[in-house]
Assembly symmetry: C2
Homo-oligomer: 420 residues x 2
């Protein structure tokens, strides 16, 4: 089976200044095309380290994809290194030159510098990959039956090249098997209990089908993966096992698609032609952000009031001043009033309201950091629930949002049953 | 100099199902402690690949940090592998056993399963690292002068172990040099122009000081890094170069700290004892989320109206229906009315309002995808600006938020000058 390795280059990766999102995306795309990624390596802007990584990765992988180090500044050494590694000479590529000129003259409206013109130089031992989104061209090398592709580290430039050229071109070079996955999401059951519940199923799996547990946000995803050259047979076999798996975990099943909770809830709203609004205190707009990160969310999402002060809760959500003073902002009474307030001012079918203490500061003896009240409902019925998380601010916020969206999902499903 | 390598384990990393945030965080912490990370490698839950990675990484690195593959389910093979790699026998660790029992009985309120008890087993060739945040213990091995540390892949468990035990313990094992960085952020100048501007400075840098360019969100960060055993001398030398660099780029300088834009703007508001509110259409709560991701943000952030429909803009922000109909939601008039509406209903000193088309759908001939109107101001003065981004929904949203926060920052600075 054809194997790929991904090398990401940049000191910023080794001092942790940036999180590498490129290689996850690349791995996804390769996987969809039927290419197995066996390793991902990050190295600094250091000649010997890059050279060594090229040697080592190409020992085991048929395809080596490289990102980063192609900028116009002196810390970017990938291009001269690849030129030497593949015994080439740097020459100006006419297409890349026109592209650099076009971007500076038409898009950026800035004069060209010598350093920019240098970006149009490429080793004469590569095929040039045009960059429609930036100035640095990509490079395709071949050596001893192995393919090496160098792309910029800027994510949208790399993604464009992968989609437009690299993946299609790889598919003409190699014959790939079919790789397929099925993922489902469970809630309300721990990883080890789930494993106990499906242990006979797990034992029954043939070698070509793998099961993985992916716990996150207090929920567990289960993923089946299969590989084979007969696409139809592979799909049929994995689907049969996946159907069985869904049956085994049905009481905890949230979705049988690999989708985030905001998408699951959003699709449910669209299917029922309903809308939702949010009233957010502690999550500070994060639930609104998750819902609106879905393209087309205006079909089901109306708006939010982020009320980060008592006064905003009173003025925009009609929360009673005396209730705020007596019960505090993090209370069942306030979160219910926030939900009702949002329903009446924003006018949606459903509502989510949250109020809590995300930390690290703001904890009280009776309301420690991580205490959250969540309310979901509609004009007939509001349900509130208190949860407690014990993590840092970022994770507490994510957990609150995911749980709130799941509470709404369950409310909508129950609501539909009640109305039939 | 002591060098470290990070190995992350898990099939989910190789099919791109999750983004690896662990290794960036670990690299940061190691770097602060004076440990240079030379490589990061991700491998799947595959015996041979993990074994090979242990061999290869320990060839060059003095410290090998490993995360992942320690869960209670059968796809987690890191522990038996390490047991064999270091010629041990699995034995129950009493401390780890008590911890597993405590978590199940007191925290999770669930009965223990055999698979959970197995988590208390460790190779007798390791020092056990207690996990205060989960059930899987960490393991510290030593072999031929090299240190290998295995930790869970769950970020908050790994972070706890690193802070509580691994970093302090490494500092007693090795003598580390002092590594230090200085980062500044520029706006309004491209990477190659910046390089041209500071090329003499760059040439003048001694070998022990490195300069890096980190372009992002239409802005460029410049980072100086220095390393040496004399802490005071290293700090003094880098500071002198950093002072020079700041002078050279002063007209484009946003901050001389390595902080995100929301923090820079938040600190400015706190310093001036002022508040801000937001009225968000296209960014859907993302600006609110960025501002509230800062602990203590209630000192300067009051709230937001996320108005994702015409009606919400009219009802909550007093945007005129006729202006919406004539000019459209993405217009100078509407974004100014949104800003004024938020100022009057939320009552803050300053306001940010945004309305735009983030894509991929919703573009119009005269307002293509990526068109954004941003308004910032106070009760005396609102300034609006039209921007155009040409990326995907996620990046367009990030760019809009960062630019809006920078516009507010500049407005506050100019406002302060006008009032003195």
């Amino acid at each position: 089976m054809t194997q790929a390795s991904i090398i990401t280059i940049g000191d910023e990766l080794l001092i942790g200044q940036v999180i590498d999102t490129n290689s996850a995306w690349m791995a996804q795309q390769l996987n969809i095309a039927g290419i197995m990624v066996i390793r991902r390596v990050a190295v600094g802007d250091a000649w010997d380290e890059i050279w060594k990584a090229l040697n080592e990765e190409s020992k085991h992988a048929d395809i080596v994809l490289i990102t980063g180090g192609l900028g116009p500044t002196s810390d970017d050494i990938t291009k001269p290194l690849l030129n030497k590694y593949f015994n080439g000479n740097l020459v100006v590529d006419e297409g890349a030159l026109q592209n650099v000129k076009y971007i500076f003259e038409k898009v950026l409206n800035r004069p060209l510098l010598v350093s920019n013109l240098k970006q149009a130089e490429v080793p004469d031992t590569c095929k040039v990959i045009q960059n429609k989104r930036g100035t640095a061209p990509g490079m395709w090398f071949e050596k001893a039956g192995k393919v090496f592709v160098s792309m910029p580290g800027v994510p949208y430039e790399m993604k464009g090249m992968m989609n437009d050229y690299v993946i299609p071109e790889l598919c003409t070079h190699f014959i790939f098997p079919h790789i397929t996955h099925r993922t489902l999401l469970t809630a309300g059951i721990g990883e080890s209990f789930l494993a106990e519940k499906i242990k006979d199923f797990e034992k029954s799996l043939p070698v070509q089908i793998k099961l993985a547990y992916l716990p996150n946000y207090g929920m567990v995803r289960l993923r089946l993966s299969a590989v084979g050259f007969d696409r139809i047979a592979v799909e049929k076999e994995i689907q049969a096992y996946f159907d069985t798996l869904q049956q085994l975990v049905k009481e905890f099943l949230v979705t049988n698609l690999d989708e985030p909770m905001e998408k699951i809830t959003g699709k449910l709203l669209i299917a029922r032609n309903k809308t939702v609004s949010t009233a957010e205190s502690c999550t500070g707009g994060y639930i609104a952000h998750l819902l609106t990160s879905i393209s087309g969310s205006s079909a089901f999402y109306v708006g939010s009031v982020v009320s980060y002060s008592y006064k905003t809760k009173e003025d925009l959500l009609n929360v009673s001043k005396s209730v705020l003073e007596i019960k505090g902002a993090v209370s069942e009474e306030v979160v219910i009033q926030m939900a009702k307030g949002a329903l009446s001012t924003i006018q949606s079918d459903y509502v989510i309201a949250v109020s809590g203490i995300m930390g690290p500061d703001g904890g009280l003896p009776d309301k420690p950091v991580g205490t959250v009240w969540i309310a979901v409902g509609n004009k007939n019925n509001i349900q509130a629930q208190k949860l407690h998380f014990r993590f840092d601010r970022e994770r507490n916020t994510q957990l609150t949002a995911t749980n709130a969206l799941n509470m709404l999902r369950k409310f909508i499903l129950a609501d539909a049953v009640a109305n039939t």
